[in-house]
Structures are given as structure tokens and as C-alpha cells.
Assembly symmetry: C2
Homo-oligomer: 226 residues x 2
């Protein structure tokens, strides 16, 4: 059976945007998989120790990481299962959406870096605090406190583009969810599963409706809808 | 034969982003058309006088405006000709790209509003100056002078997303140009045909290569490549 190594925090919370993308892709393709909850500091214990990031997908004799690589693998290996791209244009849309979603990540990090820390497994805390504080040059709690409002504003301005799109179409990929939807879902889910200060009701209206449709289509139990 | 009413300035310069989108779509679909050069102040003389914007496309018994409407009409009316969307996902990509390209327009307007004015037909000048100065609350030359550098910076930051995409794929829509490519081409061509201060060499590298490929594929004589 397919194994998916996913970043996990305390109480099995799955929060990595890239892991959510692959998790939804597997659900969409109706492929059975077992999730291997993985701490940041245990990533080097996966397989032969060469992986530096998760998700890592192990299937038959292949072990790969990088969410887009994994998606390309799944499309090639399981052509009879529901497609994630549906067409070359769906693949192009996924690539553009991936670049766009990346532009949300610095804002999300600034909105939730201390909250993310608070969700980590104990064994990850020192590693995470040291690397992230070195990156920001500041204490994590101070980064979040000082940046939250401006980062939220910047984030919501960027989401206007998605909101405009979702006024015209039910899903990002058109009439049914495709990989571009899972990319953006992953980014938002990263924020929503970790932030103590941003909830689904803070999303623009159509984005919120779209988000809840993805949750119900793939039976994602989101704390926001419980 | 299809008639395309296009905004035109002095010396027959075609500069409207929306007109360029439809012009390229007609070239891509290999449909013969005659261009009717139209001044801003002559738009109300088209057909029955109900149109407030160009492009207007007249074909057989249909007269329509709005670039996306026109594209949908062309796809439906000429299914045997090369497709502009190729798939539902190509249509979804076009919609997202249209929203994204719209976000470039306020920057382009601020970078080139006085230069655009200088390209207009004499009869359009009073109308254009009055409506645009009323919008900006300032003299057009002052708007451009005061805003150019900041607007250019904002524009180039936004173009990073396109540049990232074009590192991975030859055209926005994938392996061949499609309507998403024509949308962005139209927006850039608006700037490049009018600005006296921004040229194709100011575009990021991959965007520049992509732009010149579109020009050569559809035999667009761009002043920048002459």
C-alpha cells in the first residue's frame, strides 16, 4: 500500500501545505494510503535518509518527495484513476496556481509562526525555534505579534484574485476539484489548522464556500466546521 | 467577413489590451477579419449605438462586445478551428489569468497615462483628458511623472509570478499559445505600444522571450523588435 510521510504536530495535527496537497490528491485519485506521521526532526530517518523535506511518498519500489513530483508520478502511475490535471492546460493551471499560492506563504508564516510553534511535537521545538528565529532575526512570538495585522492585510489583498475567480467558477480548475484546488486548499489549511487568530470566517465569501465544498467532497474534518 | 472594431490612436496604433486579446484570438483561429479602426468618441457610432466599449465583433448576424464574451462566441461558432481554451481547464486558466492580468492594469495606467494620451487621435483628446483627470483628480502628465517609478516597481513585482511560471513552461497555457497567453500579451502590448519609458528589454528574461515568441508566431510587428 502507498505510504505518505506527512509532517505532524502534537495530537496528530497535519499542517504542512505540501502534505495536504498530496493527501487530497490521493483522496481524489481514490488510492488507499497509510499516513506516517513524521516530526521535522525525523525526516532524515525516512527510507535511506536522503530526504530533507516531506511529503515523501513510497509506492511499490519508488520513494519520492516534492509535492509536484509526487503528483506527476501519481498521474503517470495511475492513469485509470480520476485525473488531477485532466489535460495539459490543467497541468499549466496547476503550475501557475502553485507559483501564486507560494506568494501567500510569507504572509501566512508571519501571521502564524508562533502558533505553528505551539502545535509542534516537543522534540521539534528547539530545531524549529532556532532555524526560524535565525531566518527572521527575531523571537517567534515577537515576529507574529508585530507582523500579524500587516501580513493579514497583505494576505487578504492577494486572496481577492482567488475570490474574483471563484465568483465565476465553482472550483479553481472549473466544474470539479482538481490539483489547482488542492494546492490552494493546502496553503489555507496550513493557516487554518495552526492559527489561533485567523479562522475560516475571515476568508472572503466565495473562498469560504469553496473551502467548505472541498472539505465535504473529501470528508476532511476541519476544526472550523465541527 | 468578420469585422473587429478596435480602438486606434494616431498612425493606426492599436493599443487596447482587450482589442489585442481578440485580435490574437482571431489570428490563432485562422479566421479572416477586417479591422475597423475606432476612436474612443466613435464607439457609440458602432452598429445600433448601444456599445460603450470595444472590441466589438460583428459576424454574420451577431454583434457582441466584451473580450471574454467574444472568445466564448468564437469557440462555439468555430469549433473546427484551432481552440483558444483546448479544454475546460484551459477555460479556467483563462479566467484566472484574466483576473491576474487585471491586477497589472492600474500599474500600467499610472506608468503610461500621459504617453497613452500622446498617442490618441486628436478628436479623442478632450474626452480622454477630462475623464481620466477626473478619475485621478490630477493632470495626466503629473500622474505619470509622480507615479511612474512606484508603479513600475509594483508592476515588476507582479510580473515575478509570470516569470516563475515561464521558467517551467514555454507558454502560459502549456506547450502552445492559448487564450491565457493572449490575455497577458494584450496587457503588456498596451504598455509597450504606448510607453515612451518602458520597453521590452525592461521585462524579465523569460517573459521577454515568451513575448517575442508570441510576436513571431502571429507575425505581430512590434516596434520593439523592428
Amino acid at each position: 500500500m502507498i505510504k505518505l510521510y506527512e509532517l505532524s504536530g502534537k495530537n496528530s495535527v497535519i499542517f504542512s501545505p505540501y502534505c495536504w496537497r498530496v493527501r487530497l490528491a490521493l483522496l481524489h485519485k481514490q488510492l488507499k494510503f497509510s499516513s506516517v506521521e513524521t516530526a521535522f526532526t525525523d525526516i532524515t530517518k525516512i527510507h535511506d535518509g536522503t530526504f530533507k523535506t516531506v511529503p515523501v511518498l513510497c509506492d511499490d519500489k519508488i520513494n519520492i518527495n516534492d509535492s509536484f513530483n509526487i503528483i506527476e508520478y501519481l498521474e503517470a502511475a495511475y492513469p485509470a484513476k480520476p485525473s488531477l490535471f485532466k489535460s495539459n492546460e490543467g497541468r499549466a493551471l496547476s503550475m501557475f496556481i502553485e507559483a501564486w499560492a507560494s506568494s501567500l506563504h510569507p504572509d501566512i508564516a508571519r501571521m502564524a509562526i508562533a502558533d505553528i510553534y505551539s502545535h509542534l511535537q516537543d522534540k521539534d521545538r528547539t530545531y524549529f525555534r532556532e532555524t526560524r528565529e535565525s531566518f527572521f532575526g527575531k523571537n517567534l512570538e515577537i515576529v507574529q505579534e508585530e507582523s500579524f495585522e500587516l501580513a493579514k492585510e497583505s494576505f487578504l489583498v492577494k486572496l481577492n484574485l482567488l475570490e474574483k475567480h471563484l465568483i465565476k467558477t465553482e472550483f479553481i480548475g472549473g466544474e470539479c476539484p482538481l490539483y489547482p484546488d488542492f494546492i490552494v486548499f493546502g496553503s489555507l489549511q496550513w493557516l487554518l489548522t495552526t492559527s489561533l487568530h485567523f479562522e475560516v470566517n475571515n476568508l472572503p465569501d466565495n473562498t469560504k464556500i469553496w473551502f467548505s465544498k472541498i472539505c465535504s467532497t473529501y470528508s476532511i474534518k476541519n476544526k472550523e466546521f465541527e
